[in-house]
Subunit: 322 residues, 4 copies
């Protein structure tokens, strides 16, 4: 059993992580640290687990008792923690914040997108779990990057569910506002762009990085639906072949010849990708569940890699479908 600690257990990604780990045959949750909820039951916050667990939040940090520490902290807080604590030797870390996703000389975190860095993740000790938009968009583009086919500007439109905005109520997550509504935010400037660029350049170093990315707030709770358009001179059969070869060893990312819709991936750890050619344009549709493949599911996937398990353990989830 992998003994696990979680820091920051009250948010949405922590909840999803707990829902996954409770059903994971090789995971044992040793503590869930949440200063604001210390003493409360997990189910007081994550009530979908009623009947499944008696776990209680703690403000203690028995780091010596665990093999793996998950950070479900706000951006910036993982770095603050690691700057002020020394971790036991051999303790592994998976960070779901964005603190260590960009390579730098001051840290050893690997960018934990298995479809890009599986081999290195297996040998790693520190994993920076990718962002949700980043995961969805990178998976839509990596095969082209590997084939050095990113030769034009890229136009990305991606619609996210409300859980991407976190548990704290706000005007843009107010039901009265968001229900049946549509809007955009941070166009061309979303904070996931740097990690997307880093990943694409890892495979195609000459990529010039022009990504015109418009994120949308969708009126649904789970999922990211992304369309990507770019110029491409290859025919569609060749493109499909490139994608199928890229993902042939991957358990969760599938290239689909028919048009796809978001609910095909909701409550799964899958990424589905569909491709069409229209004139000189390649249209890529890429969909994930933002809380799973875009966060906690990928974090468990990375745990499986870190500890030498079959990568799908605990992640063969029943799709909710509806």
């Amino acid at each position: 059993m992998i003994r696990i600690g979680i820091i920051g257990g009250a948010g949405y990604t922590a909840g999803e992580l707990l829902r996954l780990l409770i059903g994971h045959p090789d995971a044992e949750i040793c503590f869930v640290n949440s200063s604001s909820n210390a003493g409360n039951k997990i189910t007081d916050v994550h009530s979908g687990l009623l009947g499944d667990t008696d776990l209680v939040f703690t403000d203690e940090l028995p780091l010596d008792s665990i093999d793996l520490l998950y950070f479900c902290t706000a951006h910036g807080d993982t770095r603050k923690f690691l700057d002020s604590h020394s971790l036991p030797e051999n303790l592994k870390v998976i960070d779901l914040s964005m603190d260590y996703r960009i390579k730098a000389i001051d840290h050893d975190f690997i960018y934990g997108l298995p479809e890009l860095n599986r081999r290195n993740t297996c040998k790693s000790r520190y994993v920076a779990n990718p962002g949700c938009f980043a995961t969805c968009i990178e998976l839509g583009l990596l095969p082209l990057a590997k084939a050095h086919l990113l030769q034009s500007e890229i136009y990305v439109n991606a619609i996210t569910g409300s859980t991407g905005a976190g548990v704290k109520p706000s005007s843009t997550t107010h039901f009265s506002w968001r229900n049946n509504n549509m809007s955009i935010y941070k166009p061309f400037e979303h904070q996931h762009l740097p990690e997307i660029l880093q990943s694409l350049k890892q495979l195609q170093p000459d990529f010039n990085g022009e990504i015109n990315f418009i994120p949308y707030r969708g009126d649904f709770a789970r999922g990211i639906f992304a369309t990507i358009v770019l110029k491409c001179t290859h025919d569609i059969e060749t493109i499909y072949k490139i994608y199928e070869e890229y993902y042939e060893r991957d358990s969760f990312t599938h290239v689909i010849p028919t048009p796809i819709d978001l609910k095909q991936v909701v409550n799964t750890n899958k990424c589905l990708i569909h491709l069409e050619k229209h004139g000189d344009k390649l249209l890529i549709t890429s969909i994930i569940d933002n809380l799973l493949k875009g966060a906690a599911g990928q974090a468990v996937h990375n745990m499986n890699l870190l500890f030498g398990l079959e990568e799908t353990v605990g992640l063969k989830l029943k799709p909710s479908a509806f």
Copy 2:
């Protein structure tokens, strides 16, 4: 023109009131008082009015310049205001809070449900605008009360849209929680029960008042859908006749022989009522838009009565239907 002031202009009912008054041919909005928003445009808060108005919130209270003062204040605040201010003679008041809905010797407010108190409202100066649940449930029961047919316990289940919970974000109005969810709150103890009892006893003084009322939080924004079940020995034709006679002079409340659904009233000032008899039980379905017939629409209706206008002026709204 009726010159109008509004106190507490940033909430949902104030927004709906503004949307109505801007289209009302006999209304002139003189000021909208909001301490927190003073200096901001109305459209900064009520952005559905973009292109319709250049009004600006104020922290001033030029009460001498107006004919009618609307209170869109939090419960308790109208009373505080009136206790600490003296109003100009002849200034009329419509209060959308619940402060003066219950008759008492210390105030002269009339309970402004036109289907119950139209005549008195016309002669009144102070109107307490009914609550949304109260309006929907009272309209479903008043004809029976007038016929003294409330002789058993009454079972009420009523589902409200999220706008009933106000503009302030909270955990139960968080989109991620409320979307596709269902829950109840304050069962048997909702704060509108006293005004419902008062209205029913006004017509049937011997009513013993046993109402088992379960309010539900619906996963939609607008509307209240109520079912009411009670014992009744009369046949359905007689019951329909009683309802049709009761509402024959009313412009907004209609008795409908076919089953009804909530969107038939959304964005209208209507109340639709459908009746069925099953064995010895009478099933009443009653539906309104909580922001219109349940709040701002009824407040404009009351204004029309106070100032001697045709009661439907400004309230013949296009149903949204979808």
Copy 3:
């Protein structure tokens, strides 16, 4: 491995059953019979399984090759099938239609509500899987029936998701109509009432059967949210004790002291029950996922019982929560 055949594989319950069985460690799907879809891939219809299965619908019926036959047929069609086919000896049957839910001398089906008939199901060969509303309402009332406390009329209001209406498009499942809408159907006359009465009388034979049941069409896809009100002279502590004792051996039904909301059970096989006392009234809230505990999940639960497996195998599902 339990070798499984499914008849009627294109509907919603069949889809959910397939999504469960594909993840069930002891199940092997041998054939999925659908005359209209013969030759098509399962994923053409149940696209949430893209990447999970290569199964193809068939119009063949190799009944000799299987241990268990599921009927996901329209009401009436299971009976027609069994009247016109003879099944191999030892082949077990679970019928998700309503054809055999009511006891009769012309059949040997057991009513497969594990919380009521677990022991008999384990010894049975034919199981009639309960209806979704019936499951939710019976679980809310069985402990009282066992204690012979059903001594007054019962008032039930239950809101169902759109998947309860099946895959065939219709005016009341049209998105434009149902979105943000609310309505009722078949009040006092729902077809699940007979099985509910049968189950309650099984434990309390003198129950007089007055159930005033109003079903609602909810504007969500999955789940049933039911409130039940009846007179009860016992105090709430006693009632809780009765419920906890009744369900203490059950894996999926939990009695919860805090108010519950529908999404706590969505995408799980759980039933959650909450109890409150108000005056002389007992208020019971009971919630399930209509496709799981109300259909396919219970059908897998019954399979586990029929074949002597631990009853939770394949049913420890990650709640979707959002």
Copy 4:
């Protein structure tokens, strides 16, 4: 009073047209022709009008009794009708189908986008009412076309409500599928592209017509939310000035300096446009209600122009806001 006939009265646009005309002070509905509904009440189909009208569908066509004939027919059927009927002299026509939107020598219809062809519409007798996507996208681009600034490819992503797909139930308008879902259809090939190109070339004849348009099915009922991206060397202040000048005489189209969201226009006849510059890219957001500005509202606007009324008569609608 304008005496009005409607052909094809059972669909969504006809319903919206009826809801508008019933509240229009200068309109008198003389007949609503629907062969399938002849003899039924209008409110049997358009139940949001319960209490508002006693109109009955007819299969007669008293064309001599009217001043204006609306076609709310399926695409192709207006042409069939006009090919087989001769209209009374002076009878005016507004066609909501797409049959006559493209200029041709065999017809005299004017393309009824008031912001483009107001003057000609006023002098016209036959109006082809623009498509919903076309209206939203054209209004987002016309000021640039007039300034001859369409010098690069244009990337359009536009999300439509389910009412755009019509009243006939189908798999992609099934609530169970569409709720909380997202998908695209007809990418790069939508049938509104020709009218969009025609309108842009009317103002900028050298426009080369490269529009990469991806339509999305949104999980809401009303509205179109479009983003448009293209290269533009002018600074944002200049661009705003161009748009404000273009629309300064228009009653319903407003250029808004702050980010916009779809519900700001729902249940109104408005188009709101917001502009941002990011590097060398201009981002245009354009939103309308597909049933109003995108169909029936624009059709009433065109009626007002044809008959010399103030263009906003009957169209100052209360925004639903929620």
